[in-house]
């Protein structure tokens, strides 16, 4: 028998999220398939086309996961950036940035409920229906891609996930694991199909499919070549297969969000271990990156670079004659075609469709819920929001608030279809800057501003006399500055105009001002909220 030292101090906690749960959770937060759509969009205006060449520079984005792994090990509490930014820098900064994050992530959650029909289930069923020649599926798919149906289905999914949230964290994680596994099976099938079919095989499958579809391209003897020729005739020149700066920003999307378990850190097993956090955060980033490489390598090889870029151009600027007027749908259909067998087609298409939509739901819901709960515990928002139902043992009012706000945002998304892409990019840059920029500063300053915490933390390590976390934090701040510059410098991303700029960064200012207003009101009520920020929450 192993002799263990006497180590237990008191009855403790069994934290619910295992290393595997958090790894999957973090991988889910940073969907690598979404990059396909972004690539198809970016390749129409960039000066190069080799997305994979951006990977060496994109590796710098791992600094984000490393910063979070270290900060979470120091503050293993639910609430993520809000907890350590407010405790190390200042509550107004912590709340300001976190408010912006929560605002945009709630919007993104609602946006995803909407997208489940428009770019998930709808196109998915439509594509499967076409490939396996099933008119019922085609019609259901088409019906789903109408605003009201999307709203109704989105609302239903909103209800379902709110109910799952009432089942507790473990249930949410189980649901997330299930969605991730289905998604990964589909993606593995899609990649394997691409690898096995090869370029000539794919051309044959595509031409055969397009011939049966008919239309401008279908009537051509070689629809595959016709797509390349039509794009050229339309004035498009395929960029050389070289590196282009915007791809750095795109590729990092597969990696940079893989720290989201920070928001449920109080429920994660051994969250005070830097090593475990690195495995679940940086490890998930690496996992996603490997799939980006596989996905793009085989996409370039099997579809052919010229065809891929021409198809991207046509779906963006001249979709007439194509079965799907959207690059993501068209590419998803191509993956489905490569899979050939109806069951494999279904898995591949559903996997890829889920990857850009449903996969975010649990991650976003828990993130938003934990942050609102943390604000309420600090008395920045009504204490009702931190009331926990003894029956459901979940923060009832927080869950219901998220549900209601999502419904409102769903309505906004449906009511303003022209603002679709503006909302989409705002829900990427806004939250990215909100939750990735300030933690870099917090990390860099932690050893100096909170020496008491740093000295006893598991991250106390120095290189040439400079704390390691300061160095990584500085790298992260530099990288995030570059990311923002890239998105603003390329007007095609659509966020350099005043309104998008306000939407992306203005919410931070709104949150910052809100903090001081709340502080003033609380003081008049006789409540000193500063006291809460002198302490670190117990879990």
């Amino acid at each position: 028998m192993t002799e263990k030292p006497f180590a237990r101090k008191s009855s403790g906690l069994i934290r619910q999220a295992s290393l595997l749960d958090t790894f999957i959770y973090n991988s889910s937060a940073s969907s690598f398939v979404v990059i396909l759509g972004s690539y198809a969009f970016a390749v129409t205006f960039t000066t190069g086309g080799d997305l994979l060449s951006a990977i060496p520079i994109a590796l710098i984005s791992f600094s984000i996961a490393i910063v979070y792994a270290m900060l979470v090990a120091t503050f293993p509490r639910s609430g993520g950036d809000y907890v350590f930014n407010s405790r190390v820098l200042h509550p107004s900064l912590g709340f300001g940035f976190n408010f912006s994050l929560v605002f945009w992530q709630t919007f993104f959650l609602a946006f995803n409920y909407y997208l489940i029909c428009f770019s998930g289930l709808g196109p998915g069923l439509h594509i499967i229906g076409y490939i396996i020649n099933n008119p019922t599926l085609i019609n259901i798919g088409l019906a789903m891609m109408t605003p009201w149906v999307a709203f109704l289905v989105g609302s239903t999914i909103n209800v379902i996930f709110t109910l799952i949230a009432f089942g507790g964290t473990k249930k949410m994680l189980q649901v997330n694991n299930a969605i991730w596994i289905i998604m990964m099976i589909g993606i593995v099938i899609a990649i394997a199909a691409l690898a096995l079919v090869g370029n000539q095989g794919f051309i044959g499958l595509f031409n055969s499919f397009m011939s049966s579809y008919g239309g401008t391209y279908g009537s051509s003897p070689n629809p595959y070549q016709a797509i390349i020729d039509t794009a050229k005739l339309g004035g498009y020149t395929t960029p050389p297969f070289v590196f282009a700066w915007p791809f750095v920003a795109l590729v990092t999307n597969a990696v940079m969000w893989t720290f989201y378990s920070a928001y449920i850190a109080g429920e994660v097993k051994e969250a005070n271990s830097v090593k475990r956090n690195l495995i679940s955060m940086a490890g998930a980033g690496l996992f996603n990156l490997i799939f980006v490489v596989l996905l793009f390598y085989f996409s370039f090889r099997t579809f052919g670079y010229n065809f891929l870029t021409s198809l991207s151009y046509l779906t963006t600027y001249n979709p007439q004659g194509l079965p799907w007027g959207n690059a993501v749908e068209m590419l998803t259909a191509c993956y489905g075609l490569a899979a050939k067998n109806p069951v494999l087609v279904a898995f591949a298409v559903i996997g890829i469709s889920l990857a850009g939509t449903l996969i975010y739901t649990v991650v976003l819901f828990l993130q938003v819920s934990r942050n609102i709960f943390a604000w309420s515990m600090d008395r920045l928002v009504p204490e009702k929001l931190s009331e926990v139902s003894p029956k459901f043992h979940t923060p009832t009012y927080t869950n219901l608030t998220i549900f209601v706000v999502c419904e409102l945002f769903l309505l906004v998304t449906m009511a303003f279809p022209d603002a679709f892409w503006l909302i989409f990019f705002s829900t990427i840059i806004g939250p990215a800057f909100s939750c990735m920029f300030l933690p870099g500063i917090t990390a860099a300053l932690l050893p100096y501003k909170r020496k008491d915490i740093y000295e006893v933390s598991p991250i106390k390590r120095e290189i040439l006399g400079i704390p390691l976390i300061t160095l990584v934090g500085a790298i992260e701040v530099g990288f995030m500055t570059f990311m923002v510059y890239t998105y603003v410098a390329w007007p095609q991303f659509g966020i350099s105009a005043p309104l998008p700029l306000f939407l992306n960064f203005g919410m931070i200012a709104v949150g910052f001002i809100l903090y001081w207003v709340i502080r003033y009101i609380r003081r008049r009520q006789g409540v000193d909220i500063d006291l809460a920020f002198a302490e670190i929450p117990p879990v």
Binding site: T2, S11, E267, P390, K391, H393
Partner: protein
């Protein structure tokens, strides 16, 4: 007759019993476990005093541990609210599937209320719901067998837990049924025969009990008779546990042995 306690412990004990009593009046099945339950089951004040002498990091309880059925969680919450306790919202929100926590109105101590499926280093199931579980078999605490299982499941056991085990084993007879004030070996053995990891740690902890009794005998904290009685009982428990046929899951897991992690990590609430 209960052992004499220091003023603080007496207050804590009084409060624990008041809560359980109030629960009983309201039809709530709420039972004590942990340090306070051990004290309630201890008649030998001499042994208790010897093993919990100042400086020995002995038997002082700083919290109250209780168990109820999850189906009664809403009633329990109302009970504590009525008694002016403050619920720990963070614990309730993040760990409410398994436990609630309540702070004393003056924050002097806290009460942990666990539900029937205890998740610590190893899992222990105390039944499904009111009338169908093991909570009703004793009052105001869990049965002695379940209290002992509660100690045996600890992967990283501390000296206080070992002393609690010594006190419980020394003070009670062994039986093969839930007889009042005796330790039901059948219950202990049946739980351990289904869970190899639990059995492994229980065996390890029983060995530690044996070693500690030897140490306490040398230090003069236990008499020769007490030592002999304890050694005999611990060996009997171990023999009983090992002679019971094991489940298929147990046998399957046993093949992997300690090459694979066999316990759940238990972490502190505040680090």
């Amino acid at each position: 007759m209960r052992i004499p306690l220091e003023k603080e412990d007496e207050k804590l004990m009084g409060e624990a019993l008041r809560i359980v009593d109030e629960a009983k009046k309201r039809g709530i099945v709420l039972r004590l476990m942990g340090g306070i339950a051990v004290i309630i089951h201890t008649d030998d004040s001499s042994l208790y005093t010897r093993l919990t002498t100042p400086g020995s990091d002995g038997g002082k309880s700083r919290d109250i541990d209780m168990v109820t059925y999850s189906s009664q969680s809403s009633k329990v919450d109302k009970l504590f609210n009525d008694l002016s306790y403050n619920s720990d919202k963070l614990v309730m929100a993040y760990f409410g599937e398994n436990r609630f926590m309540y702070h004393h109105p003056k924050d002097i101590y806290y009460v942990d209320v666990f539900f029937e499926k205890l998740h610590f280093s190893h899992d222990m199931n105390l039944g499904s719901k009111k009338g169908r579980g093991r909570l009703e078999l004793d009052y105001p605490t869990l049965t002695l067998a379940d209290l002992i299982l509660g100690k045996l499941q600890i992967h990283e056991i501390n000296e206080k837990d070992i002393r609690d085990l010594i006190i419980l084993i020394k003070g009670h007879s062994l039986s093969d049924d839930d007889v009042e004030e005796s330790i039901n070996l059948e219950r202990i053995a049946s739980v351990l025969s289904n869970d190899w990891g639990f059995w492994y740690d229980a065996e390890s902890n029983l060995n530690k009990v044996l070693k500690s009794t030897e140490k306490y005998r040398i230090e003069g904290l236990l008499s020769e008779e007490e030592f002999d009685d304890l050694s005999t009982k611990v060996q009997k428990i171990s023999i009983y546990i090992n002679k019971i046929p094991k489940s298929k899951d147990w046998l399957k897991r046993a093949k992997e042995g300690s090459s694979k992690k066999w316990w759940n990590d238990v972490e502190e609430l505040v680090r």
